[in-house]
Symmetry: C2
Subunit: 562 residues, 2 copies
Amino acid sequence: MKNKLDNLWINEAPKKGSFRSVFKYGDPNGFKHPNERLISELIDKFKLTDKDFSEKETTGNEIVDISVESKLSVQQIEQFEEICGVENISSKEYDRLKFSTGKTTEESMKLRKGVVSLISDLVVHPRNKTEITEIVKYCNQQKIPLYVYGGGSSVNFGFYPEKGGVTLVLSTHLNKVVKFNELNQTVVVEAGMMGPDFENALNNAPGIYGAKHKFTCGHFPQSFEYSTVGGWFITLGSGQQSSYYGDAGDLVLGVEMISPSGNIITKDYPATATGPKVLDIIKGSEGIYGIVVELTWKIYKHMPENRERFSFIFPNWESAVEASREISQGEFGMPAVFRISDPEETHHGLKLYGIEDTIFDKIMSFRGFKPMERCLFLGTSDGDKTFTKNIKSRVSKICKKYGAMNLTSFPLKKWEPGRYRDPYLREDLMDYGIIIDTLETGVNWDNLHQIHKKVRAFVKSRPDTICMTHASHFYEQGTNLYFIFIIKESDVDAYRKFQEGIIDSIQKSGGSLSHHHGVGRMISKWMPEHLGENQMNVLRALKNHFDPNNIMNPGNQLLTEN
Amino acid sequence: MKNKLDNLWINEAPKKGSFRSVFKYGDPNGFKHPNERLISELIDKFKLTDKDFSEKETTGNEIVDISVESKLSVQQIEQFEEICGVENISSKEYDRLKFSTGKTTEESMKLRKGVVSLISDLVVHPRNKTEITEIVKYCNQQKIPLYVYGGGSSVNFGFYPEKGGVTLVLSTHLNKVVKFNELNQTVVVEAGMMGPDFENALNNAPGIYGAKHKFTCGHFPQSFEYSTVGGWFITLGSGQQSSYYGDAGDLVLGVEMISPSGNIITKDYPATATGPKVLDIIKGSEGIYGIVVELTWKIYKHMPENRERFSFIFPNWESAVEASREISQGEFGMPAVFRISDPEETHHGLKLYGIEDTIFDKIMSFRGFKPMERCLFLGTSDGDKTFTKNIKSRVSKICKKYGAMNLTSFPLKKWEPGRYRDPYLREDLMDYGIIIDTLETGVNWDNLHQIHKKVRAFVKSRPDTICMTHASHFYEQGTNLYFIFIIKESDVDAYRKFQEGIIDSIQKSGGSLSHHHGVGRMISKWMPEHLGENQMNVLRALKNHFDPNNIMNPGNQLLTEN
């Protein structure tokens, strides 16, 4: 069976120059194939037969062979060549498509069929912030739309050069730590640095910077390996250890931003009472005000030797939520990884993390933790050794109080190595017309259950749908809900309608429109109702101030019209 | 001697209707007289003789007898009467003066001499937010300047109705908790609620709201007893336990603000990624955008039984700072009260807290902790019992490592009861032409010493000046420096010049213009150089959006012109 399954999946890197090479997530040679257990669930759920697996629906392995004229004049292109050097400019269609594509399901669905919705007019790899200043100035003068490509991992059309123009790729050259400050525990980092490069530099601070300690950036989103530091910040991202380290917005003390209305450099005081903070105004602006080129990032000591790992199984969702609330409000410090799965996610998680059929599984069943009721809790603690041990001990006591059973660190150790790999599942499944996608929301304790129930009810109202939910970013006042759904669907419009229905039910049930994915073009039309017109007008006034000609990521977040 | 000293001070409430009743801090019957040790220091420092104490220079106990015509028309005043009721309006000169006066030294100096710089045209005590909405609308239409009086404790002319108009007093009617949410650990509180009322309500939550726990607001600035919740937030204040609970800006999850451009109600999600947060934009706006009428405030469990208290004496300032940095970056949780005094403040502190001539003093001296070198550290920890005990233990180890000697909880217990009382010293001293005042700044670890040295050098360049400094709000990346200076000066212009010199030296040495006092009119002229014109333009654009007719606290923060 295992061998049989393996034959189902593509195991080679996408063909050079193919559509698949554009939309495939992450490492071209990286794969995480669905395992036997997941596939057998899907076969049951979608009533699949061998026929469904006899042939791939789409692969997108066809070569990109399109001809789209650039809307830029020769003179304009020459200007960019002059600023950045010929070798840092590309007007080739393949490059323009590659650097026009994010990671939404919709984009993948279309490109698999060779449908190109849009491409930018020019790809530019600026070498430094001086060049970016010149580019912004020139584009503003010429009214050329300007889009910034970080790691390209947006799942909500936050990056989507709908008006053509220029795509700036920051990761090519702006990818270094430019200042390391051990005393302040901060680094100044260029916005285009990728997650692993950043973390490696900090982990190796003694060797690289002559530091006394090793450090960590504290921010580990699922997209960690294929996203940039600037992207984390500008979209208000959250990492998998955010309950301890804070969200990306909390981890940044200062930025340098280049905008049509001038350059902004905010100071990096840990606190200051000099009026509203322009840094805060830039947080979450998703590139519509300007281009963040450098960030002052808070760093923490890297002490993996102090990390504690723990996991529990709860009799039901209500008890898992109550225990999580008591932990979050317990005032003994927060776990780093802190994650509870609802019954349906637990059901799949126990399979994925290899708990099924182990001794744990038997004891769980013997002790009455029932499938599709029981809920998995995963946690770690970071920090000083006395602190991490105390968290483990306090968490254990609270979990026991709510009827949970200790599953030791075993599930955690199964979860950790694959934590950045789940996005790789997507292409395998979509090869057979199956979609795995996510939407998420920020919630308070007093509306968590209502939102969970209502959104799940909507998702489940579509026949044959898997809907797994977890909460994984905790605060004293609430948490997030992260919905993962798997459906069989090959029609883009039908899929979009389903997705809009979910966003709608998040909105109507009282959740935030996004906890950490940001707004993008996928969410923006719900924004006026969500925030109210008066708040939208504040954001519009800021947009108008920073970017009066609407050249910066036009169309994103605010539904601005050119 | 003690009796002799006591005769020096005014021991009765200010005369009814007097200038002193306008400018005296806090409770009319509240006093904290300088003790013998402080006075003997001052006598030495300022070379005072009995003659200097033979007569008070000024007391301001004269009755306010001024006649200033209101610039509002009868019709306009009638409109306010109609909105709020005749009983909530006053056009009496005394009331207009009282509710036009903050707590700067300059205002006190002038009023002592009967010099009235300005008074507002009308005092209005709105009963609810509907009335405030009507008032804002009417004032916007009629272009009547609108100033909000919270507790009146501003020390930087943040509240200063320089253009006359209407002063709204929020504490008269908008002073209640309107929603208590134990599940979320939040309350919705009206902006005019005073500190002690707020804290008492939370401490007594089981009785008042049927809560399971007692709660605390976590915010205890020195002005706690005479400042409002709204004022804490809008000026970006910090409490004496901020290292654990966070600054006022961190403690607020949502606000309702009434502005000329419409009303804003932000949602209270613990986290959301729906673009830049209008809540953040309002933080620190000091009333120039609109009137914050309600706040969603994060509350914490009130567990005084878990509080640990500790104090240490360090051989010098450098070691106290280094230990504090190691604690702040230690990742075992933060102390609540966390305060180090420089040698000169320690010198006075040991006297004030009654350490002088105790067994501690003898041991300190025996062990080589020298006066004017040694530095005092005060700390407490709040939270879960395991957490507070661990902090005490980790702090003790770090302090020992840096050569400190444990002074037990004794100095802490001496400091705590008087923590809100120091402002009362001011009037006693000023009766004899002696000024005690403060300025403060936010610093990073890598510029702390430079700023401390340069600002102290400037203060000390004035002959016969006491300059005490402490750091009392700690973060991983730095702290604040709080300068307390005592000088003999009766001339307002000379004093202002001195004060401006200090602000200038804070700016030039690299400190933030304010860590938690805010901007006001005292600091605003340094803002463009501090933030840069491009950041100022962002703040101006926001001002223009919220308040195009510049009726909201005109003149504050941005140097806006009408």
